[in-house]
Amino acid sequence: MVLPVLALFLAMTIYPFGFMIWASFRDYDLSKSAETHFIGLSNYFQIFRDSTAIESMKFTAKLLSIAVPVELVLGVLIAFLIRGVKGEKIIRSSLLIPMMIPPAVSGVAWKMLYNFAFGPVNWFLSLFGVPKISWLGDPFYAQLGIIIIDVWQWTPFIFLMIYAGLQSIPQDLIDAARVDGADWGRVFLHVEFPLLRPLILVALVLRIIDCLKTFDIVFMTTWGGPGSATHTYSFYIYKVGISFGWNIGYASALSVLLLIVAIVLVNAVFRLVRMRQQLGLGGEE
């Protein structure tokens, strides 16, 4: 009974993963030839000599360090603030819309929103006397533009997780705190937030992994430009591996490195939490 599932798992996951590791040590460039040969760690050394790869790492780090915390704060805030508000169900459903739109579609929509001459964003800003902004043509604004899209698309994900977590907190705990004289702020800080911490941690880990994979919105809006200002690491892998020449070997090495970084980052988050617990600073997770 298990065999077909196991075979499928091997074929769909283990084989491509093994192939990626194998290819990363080979000169495997389909634009030259379908034949491959072993080149050791050359593809890995190449990454650190490749200025575009390094710039794409920098932008991905920027995206990770700005977009993810903003999404976390906004998601948690919204989840707390909409509780008990009139029309809570409608607001809740509306907030989930960005997350349900495929990133490629939202990329197209945002490209139109950011249009220099006819885009609603520049029109709206012009009402406050802001001159037209080149959202996709200026390195600073293009990066900001990508961060805004990411925050818009993925804040609802954090919100959804936290909101679901809030619903599952036993009401008697909150009532008990209130009887003890805790106000809204204290209930949040000492009852709800500690209980939500494991959930926030899971959301953070998922967002880190997801953020490292950011590809679609860049593909649909800036194509990594201007220059290499908005090249995300995953987008660069796509370009190396598919878009400009099928350099499978180098793209595999880039992918292996991404995997290592993701594992290290996720482990770092878990370790940090564990350390806080050991130092007595953490919650009850």
């Binding site: 389909l30 249009n115 001459a117 996709l136 043509g137 390195p139 800036t222 430009g225 201007p226 099928w246």
Partner: protein
Amino acid sequence: MKRFLLLIFLIITSLIFSVKISVLCSPDNADALKWLAQEFMKQNPEIQVEIVPLSWEVLYPKLLQDLRSQAGSFDAFTYDVMTTGAVSFGLVDLGEFMKQHPELVPEDYDLNDFIPQVLEESGKWQGKLVGLPFYNNTMLFYYRKDLFEDPKIKQAFKEKYGRELTLPTTWEEVVEIAEFFTKKYNKSSPTDYGIALMFPRTHTLFYMYLLFFGEYRNAPLGIMRHGTADLEFGEYFTADHKPAFNSEEGLKALEMMKKLMPYSPDPLGSDYGETIEYFNQGLVAMVPQWTGPYLIFKSTLGEDKVGIIPMPGRSVSGQWALGINKFIPEDKKLAAFKFIIFATSKWADKNKFLRFAVAPARISTLQDPEVRAADPRVPALEVTYVSQTHRPRIPEEPRLEDITVEIFSKILSGELPLSMETLNDLAKKWEEILGK
């Protein structure tokens, strides 16, 4: 009832015994190819043709992947001229095929009727005929005819610049006219900006550069320095196949691009679609664009408002050819060959241009009185086809293109200095990729 059953029988047998071929193409060519496929199937009911459009970004990787793996998941395809070198290994040698199957080539199918440069560039690779020219795309310079012919505007221009407002023939003239039509520099301008330029960080910037570089690279001094460009390596290279852009001509081209940028709405953030829209909505007075958007301009602005001239500097070719996958069974090769011969025949070349504005590749089409009367682009096309520049067609082209676009984009956005040093660094990267 008997007739009905007979019909059903015929349909079933034709489905069973017919050969089905799939043709991959870019969306630009899809409507014309679909129509041609219908016409072809009327004449050849034993062959079923399926047209599969794929976006430009996906088509080339898909072709390369399929050809390398020899999967044969499609039978014929349109390929962009600059990918010829990369996909040529998977293309059927059509010259040889024609020799083996002369009965499949109609008598009036005249290879010599193709514009020689076009047949050479999009059809041939290292002496072999690997494709048949289908879409002879090139870039033209569109302008607002009504504005350029307005006596008040002409008078105002003369007062400001001391010369007549004439149609530009050089980029230096374009700069002056673009400034005149930009509200920021001329309050009474009827348009907000002078020209719509597309300098995004996509393959667009790679060909846009040639519009400028081509003028200087192919001027007498440029030819003296770099030699005549060939159709395999194009104007980016010298005659002995070294990078030509790290030169005075290369710098001048980028300087000219920068000079024009203040008169264009968001040049670094605009691509094909945006610039078409800017011209269409009356935001700009001029736009360098491919042949296709003419139909959009004509239908929105009106034929009387849209003027077309050859590119002030040099145009760039963007041809597409039809080729056959080498790794498919013989019966499919025969069917695909029949179809691409039909789709590139004299009749098809003329009718796809008249119906779908797919630029013609044959001399007979350009000389046809009906065509000349129907489409105002023909005179500009004739001039352009013999003077246009060419991108490299070598297999390394996609990679060269990507690193070049990155550096050019950084220069234009001010991230990198516009200097010979920057261009020399880029040339070094080219040489690394080319293994020189």
